[in-house]
Symmetry: C2
Subunit: 141 residues, 2 copies
DNA sequence: GGCATTTCGTTTCTAGGCTTACGAAACGCC
DNA sequence: GGCGTTTCGTAAGCCTAGAAACGAAATGCC
């Protein structure tokens, strides 16, 4: 079959998902600004805010990140002074990750910006379609 | 405001998009198998199939990839013998990327698998929602 | 014809993301 | 109590992705 035309890349879900996520990341970066956290760094910080200190492993599961990926994100957060790591006294395998006061002070502002990012990502859609998109994506998970 | 609860990560579009794309990539890799192309490698190959030899830059624009990213993808395709690069005789700035016979022989099978990937990605959705998802994502681009 | 601008490719840096493999610690079961 | 299994973290390697900065080549405009 010499007909490439019945598979058009631009129409494939994968490509559309990639483009949409790509655009979302660009919006995130633009709204958070130069010295703000990246998308995944913010996700980790916010999860620690909601749940308190967590092991790297659990943090990763909650955020859908592999252990090696979590390690990288936490290392960069540590380098920026937003997070500290301590051995769990009750289980020496675990490294508990906890927010620093610096992170606690910055988080409320960042959460507001994160809300703006979500709004900007959905901005091209009428309200009912935004809701439908969320429902569909959740079902695909 | 000490209330993290009004921003729930799992409900944000960005997170849902990331999860969906993550799942898609896993399906792609699983269906293509060990020695198949990656998602972006396949996208590049298929675009070259449809359009003939292209400069790296144009290829990147068609696929929504930055120049450094294209360079890496093309380098890996070249290392696998699927692609060759030649200077454009009419414009010495351009490196024309072209498929090799190996790639031409493999492409029909890979396209079939790529169709299976799209189907698998959409499998959890009823047919009308799959169509709606595509329409919504396209509008967000 | 000559100079500013644009385009193309590259390099380097930072970041995320996955795979495979491995060591250390804890747990479960006997 | 001891041994196998599971869990946690780490390491190294590959791939995608973007920013910034640069050289080289072509184009456009004067």
């Amino acid at each position: 079959m010499e007909e490439p035309e019945d598979y058009v890349l631009e129409d494939q879900v994968g490509h559309l998902l990639r483009r949409a996520y790509q655009r979302h990341l660009a919006l995130f970066q633009g709204i958070m600004g130069e010295d703000g956290p990246t998308s995944m760094q913010f996700a980790a910080l916010h999860m620690l805010w909601r749940r308190g200190p967590l092991s790297q492993n659990l943090l990763g599961r909650l955020l859908a990140m592999d252990p090696p990926t979590v390690k990288g994100v936490v290392a960069r957060l540590m380098a920026r002074g937003l997070v500290v790591r301590e051995r769990d006294p009750s289980d020496a395998r675990m490294l508990l990750v906890a927010l620093t006061p610096v992170a606690l002070a910055a988080l409320p502002g960042w959460v507001e910006k994160a809300k703006a990012v979500s709004a900007a990502t959905l901005a091209p859609l009428p309200r009912d379609e935004a809701a439908r998109l969320s429902a569909i994506l959740r079902r695909m998970g």
